[in-house]
């Protein structure tokens, strides 16, 4: 149940990013899309905003959400770099573990 909820939350956030990269949406507009409360969408948007994947701008009474293409690309590039770091670490771990075999 917990996992399902998590996955759905993920899916919603993914979907929000996909949508706002194509067009601007107000938070209430997004809430309509997902049949969700304003507060729930607000929360998703806040998470995405923290990750620099979307930006929010107040326009009159509405809060307009927009996708940050740079943020998405930057995230992808940085995660690729982070993967490289860990692949190198795993290589070094293998070397250390290999020493044991040499000794025995």
């Amino acid at each position: 149940m917990d996992r399902l909820f998590q996955a759905l939350a993920d899916a919603t956030r993914r979907d929000i990013v996909a949508r706002v990269l194509v067009a601007e949406y107000s938070v209430s507009g997004l809430a309509e899309q997902y049949d969700m409360s304003f507060a729930a969408v607000q929360k998703h948007v806040a998470v995405l905003e923290r990750a620099s994947l979307v930006s929010k701008e107040k326009r009159g009474r509405e809060q307009i959400v927009r996708g940050e293409v740079d943020g998405v690309q930057r995230a992808r590039r940085l995660l690729d770099d982070y993967e490289r770091i860990w692949r190198q670490r795993v290589d070094r771990i293998e070397d250390i573990l290999g020493e044991d075999e040499d000794r025995t």
Partner: protein, 166 residues
């Protein structure tokens, strides 16, 4: 091939790596438990890590720094949040300034390491969760030879600078 898979989630800023080793779980646990072993693989060869505090208990802290070719140092810390020897370790990883004080503005990453027995071999799964792109950026700089130079003494500068697109 030790690395089996790497999954990256750009939306949630999550990273998940699965690797398998020709050693049993107890042996692989030691590369985490023993700071002298940890130091040998955490940092790149030209920027070796030194863990001079390593309190390997739940709630314990670790302090480390990486030393560059010209003697520059980049500081970091861990807070051990969970230990279930020899199969599960969770810790938070953050940055520190030259005075070794934690830099809270960049938050901390959350890491979960699990070791699983594959009949004498070991599958290690690492999941890291990041709180922001800037934090991920700094973590990457702390882990890469070419990035470390830039990371040195620039934690403060990075805080002042705003989400500079790379």
């Amino acid at each position: 091939m030790a690395v089996i898979s790497a999954e990256k989630d750009t939306q949630e800023l999550n990273f998940r790596l699965v690797a398998e080793f020709d050693a049993d779980v107890k042996r692989v646990w030691r590369i985490w438990e023993d700071p002298r072993q940890l130091e040998r693989w955490w940092g790149p060869p030209t920027w070796p890590a030194t863990f001079d505090t390593y309190d390997f208990v739940v709630g314990g802290r670790a302090e480390y720094y990486m030393t560059g070719p010209d003697g520059e140092k980049a500081h970091g810390w861990w807070l051990i949040t969970g230990i279930d020897a020899p199969t599960r370790l969770t810790f938070d990883d953050g940055f520190a300034n030259e005075q070794r004080e934690p830099v809270d503005e960049l938050g901390r990453t959350h890491a979960v390491v699990t070791l699983e027995d594959l009949g004498g071999r070991t599958r290690m799964t690492l999941v890291t969760g990041f709180e922001s792109l800037d934090q991920l950026n700094q973590m990457v700089e702390m882990g890469m030879e070419e990035g470390l130079k830039g990371a040195i003494g620039q934690v403060d500068a990075l805080l002042a600078e705003e989400g500079a697109a790379v």
